[in-house]
């Protein structure tokens, strides 16, 4: 059953990654006609992604928190036995970064949905980019660790 929750955690995380990357790249885009694929990827109404990102982030976080004890019992010890202490350290940092993202989420939502889009542009850009990088880091680290020693 834990494999099901782990896979679901990964699938929702990939959905979050897609939404976050769309929005993260859009906040850096200069207004211009979108002709190339990359420009079309970034030419989305970024504000509409904010609610979906909050929901997907909370879901991903909650599922991660649910499977975390199994990781501690089944994976952490085994990876330590392999002598891969840095791998554990990087995963532990991932857990902190997930909490940082969770803590930033209310103010991220605030700057997208409550503050007029014409003001606080640098802060909105920073928060969105930070969250995008955090989501990328966490997905890559989680995926690599699952390859090192997966939950079964």
């Amino acid at each position: 059953m834990i494999a099901f929750w782990t896979i679901l955690h990964g699938i929702i995380a990939i959905g979050l990654l897609g939404a976050m990357t769309h929005q993260g790249l859009t906040v850096w885009r200069k207004p211009a006609p979108a002709q190339l694929f990359v420009d079309r990827f970034r030419a989305i109404p970024a504000v509409r992604f904010a609610n979906a990102i909050v929901v997907l982030y909370v879901l991903t976080f909650a599922l991660g928190a649910y499977i975390y004890p199994t990781f501690v019992l089944d994976v952490k010890g085994a990876v330590a036995d392999y002598g891969m202490r840095k791998t554990i350290g990087i995963f532990q940092l991932k857990e902190h970064i997930a909490v940082i993202g969770l803590g930033m989420l209310p103010v991220y939502w605030h700057f997208w949905r409550s503050v007029p889009l014409t003001v606080s542009i640098p802060t909105r850009r920073f928060l969105t980019t930070f969250l995008m990088l955090a989501v990328w880091w966490n997905l890559v680290v989680g995926h690599v660790l699952n390859n090192v020693r997966g939950l079964t």
Binding site: L73, K76, H96, V99, I100
Partner: protein, 106 residues
Amino acid sequence: MIARVFSTRVFTLVFGIGYAVAVYVNYPLFRFYPLVMRFSLHDLVDPSLGPAMSWYGWIATAAVPALLVAAFVPKRVGDRIPAAVFWIVPFVMLLAGWYRERDWFQ
């Protein structure tokens, strides 16, 4: 609706500082022992209970005051917190996390 009575700026600020402090001084509100599925307000120094998890407790240490303060501080006051503060908060939290996990990298 929620945004009218709940200051998101205050929540993030208090949560961020609370989490950084909780992690830095290692003060989880509670610990969880997954092997025996048991919560404890104290560190139960008993190897038979398996590893203790502080992560949920650190989150709770930060979230409880953040929710309370964000609910009671008027939103108009919270909205005066400069946006620049939120450029610093995640890095303060990250530094505390790095400090807590530094032994893994030695």
